[in-house]
């Protein structure tokens, strides 16, 4: 067998192993379920808002007041995906951690790593095989998720998505794969590096909670307009243009907050996905050229991180002499 065939054999086994693994399947179904639920919840949430609007409109009309200030909530089908993206960030990342961990743990646990490493195949090929197998798996999972999302949005939104909207979903799909590979590589790396596998798993979770939940949470709570229930500017009855003028004076604070958020790779993925899908109002209805000119940096960040952790894992796998458990 030539080298390529060997790599392919390893990759195929990784793929098949994961599909037989209960932990992986549990998380996969959990993810699919949550994403479905989140889209439906978002749809009901939107319906609720429309109802509130119509109620308010009715009341104002009855009391004979001007209704111009009230804007009708508009329906953007891609905005239903906010929860789905958040669950991909949270559960998708756990799924990737599970894959990375299992891919190394199953070999260490029953000492098959020594067997593999004494076969005529280079360490790099073993790593590459494992990486490719799991990458294919991540691609398949994301593929299922995004096809599912498209169908659910079509049904819930009662409209067919346009070609341009589908293209935006496709772009999000690509960057989701890149994002998930970061977590796969981190947990693979830690499982190779650390002596104790459970510790590798727990530390992967620590990194996960930092990137996915803590840093974004800090950034969010530091938002000045988030300090008072209902918002500071609302309580002062200030219009948007004036708000921007005032905030311009505090740009250093905003910059600090932004820098903090940027240390989280999840935030980069989120900004990019929210821009593609128009979930963030600033990007809603904007052209892809505009979005790329503003948010390309986020794409670079996650692609670079993905590459870096992957290469780092390969280097450790090839260079670390004793990979198996020592008695």
């Amino acid at each position: 067998m030539n080298n390529f065939a060997k790599i392919f054999t390893v990759a195929k086994k990784e793929y098949a192993d994961a599909l037989k693994n209960r932990v992986f399947l549990v998380f996969l179904f959990f993810l699919l379920f949550l994403i479905g639920v989140s889209i439906i919840v978002a749809a009901f949430d939107f319906q609720g808002k429309v109802a509130v609007y119509q109620n308010a409109l009715l009341k104002l009309r009855q009391s004979g007041q001007v209704v111009e200030n009230l804007s009708e909530p508009q329906f953007f089908p891609l905005q239903l995906l906010r929860g789905a993206i958040e669950y991909l960030e949270i559960i998708g990342a756990i799924l990737a951690i599970v894959l990375g961990y299992l891919s190394i743990a199953k070999e260490k646990g029953n000492n098959t790593l020594q067997l593999i490493l004494t076969r005529p195949i280079s360490r790099f090929s073993v790593y590459l095989g494992k990486f490719l197998g799991n990458a294919l798996l991540i691609i398949s999972v994301s593929g299922i998720v995004f096809v599912g999302i498209t169908l659910v949005v079509d049904i819930v939104g009662k409209t067919m998505l346009t070609g341009s909207q589908l293209y935006r979903i496709f772009l999000t799909f690509i960057f989701t794969i890149i994002y998930l590979l970061i977590f796969f590589s981190i947990s693979t790396l830690l499982s190779i590096l650390l002596k104790s596998l459970p510790n590798a798993l727990i530390i992967s979770f620590v990194i996960w909670i930092l990137f996915v939940l803590i840093i974004p949470q800090i950034g969010d709570t530091m938002d000045p307009d988030n300090q008072v229930p209902g918002g500071l500017f609302n309580s002062l009855h200030m219009v948007k243009a004036d708000q921007t003028a005032i905030l311009a004076k505090f740009s250093h604070y905003e910059k600090m907050r932004d820098n903090l958020e940027q240390t989280s790779l999840t935030k980069h993925y989120e900004r990019l996905a929210f821009a593609f899908l128009g979930i963030k109002d600033t990007y809603n209805g904007k052209s892809l050229e505009f979005i790329f000119s503003e948010r390309a940096i986020d794409g670079w960040w996650i692609s670079l991180a993905s590459l870096l952790f992957g290469v780092f894992g390969a280097v450790i796998f090839v260079k670390k002499r004793v990979l198996w458990k020592e008695e």
Binding site: R22, V23, V26, F27, F30, L34, V37, S38, V41, F44, D45, Q47, G48, A51, V52, G83, E86, Y87, I90, I91, I94, L102, A105, K106, K108, G109, L197, P198, N199, L201, I202, I203, F205, V206, I209, L210, L213, I214, P216, Q217, I218, D220, T221, M222, D223, P224, N226, Q227, V228, P229, L232, S235, L236, M238, D242, A245, I246, K249, F250, Y253
Partner: protein, 317 residues
């Protein structure tokens, strides 16, 4: 010394020598500390923004400008981020505490030794639960001390006696919340053969309780649930959410914890400055559900440990 304490002390002793536990504990305490600092920076900036806005409005000729809403916020506002960190990191830490408690015995091979000592299974079990509770108590006390001290350093808000009472109740509630997760960790460490599954399943349950159920009940996305200002926002109207509130509402422990805590710490959007008495009365149902959940986990753990059969320990890490 009664056997039950010997076991409990052993539990705490071993736990506090584990590096991973310390790492998590350090992050938890650090975040509690950081939350005061973050709060300080954010409120100082917001006050400056308010002052700038006032100046701006004056120049524009507007009179009758409302007072700084920040000053109207109660002193306990400083602690609102602590709710999030206990909800988020504390509960994960608690899962690890419960998980390690049993997995440690399985992996060290000490389990057959424990089970062949002349001790009643009840004592062994409650010794362990006592040990876990002591560990959680230590964690909670540490965050309590850190947050009270760091709030004393903040210049503009001072705690009064009733605030301390509220804080005390909040930390007591947090203790029970953490105990629930520790027992979930323990349960799956007993029940599940594979060590990784024993950790993953509780994490699944954690995500369910912390994010999924609250989302179904309140319509809030995960990140919004982590924002202490909007944390206990209620769901929009509509039959869907009404249905969810009726049937899933009682089960969403995470939602109960955050909304009850918000009221205890005067951080609620719903009732501002409700008295301690009324906060307790309004939330007694939530507390009851939490205690029931703990009771159920406790019985399940006990039942599984009674029926635990020693077998070839085949832990596939």
């Amino acid at each position: 010394m009664p056997i039950i304490f010997t076991i409990a002390i052993q539990e705490v002793k071993v736990l506090f020598r584990e590096r991973v536990f310390f790492l998590l504990l350090a992050i938890f305490i650090l975040m509690t500390l950081a939350s005061s600092f973050i709060g300080l920076v954010a409120t100082t900036t917001t006050t400056s923004i308010y002052n700038a806005s006032v100046e701006f409005l004056h120049q524009a000729g507007t009179d009758n400008i409302p007072a700084n809403p920040l000053n109207a916020l109660p002193a306990l506002t400083n602690f609102r981020n602590v709710i999030v960190y206990i909800f988020l990191i504390g509960s994960l830490l608690a899962i690890v505490v419960g998980h390690r408690s049993f997995i440690r015995e399985r992996k060290s091979g000490a389990l057959p030794l424990l089970l062949t000592r002349p001790i009643l299974a009840e004592k062994l079990f409650f010794g362990k639960v006592l040990g876990i509770s002591l560990a959680l108590f230590a964690i909670i006390s540490a965050t309590f001390i850190v947050s009270v001290f760091s709030s004393l350093l903040l210049p503009f808000r001072h705690l009064v006696a009733s605030d301390i009472e509220r804080l005390f109740l909040f930390y007591a509630l947090s203790f029970f919340y953490l105990l629930f997760f520790a027992l979930v960790g323990l349960l799956f460490a007993i029940k599940t053969k594979s060590e990784s599954l024993a950790l993953f399943v509780p994490v699944c349950i954690w995500v369910g309780i912390s994010f999924v159920l609250p989302e179904l009940v309140s319509g809030q996305t995960p990140t919004a649930l982590l924002n202490p200002v909007t944390m206990d926002q209620v769901a929009p109207d509509g039959t869907f959410f009404a249905l969810m509130r009726t049937y899933l509402g009682p089960l969403s422990l995470g939602w109960h914890y955050t909304s009850f805590s918000s009221q205890l710490l005067n951080n609620s959007l719903q009732i501002t400055n409700a008295g301690i008495g009324s906060a307790l009365r309004d939330n007694s149902g939530k507390l009851f559900i939490l205690l029931i959940a703990i009771g159920v986990c406790l019985s399940l753990c006990f039942y599984s440990i009674r029926n635990y059969t020693i077998q070839e320990e085949n832990i596939y890490e």
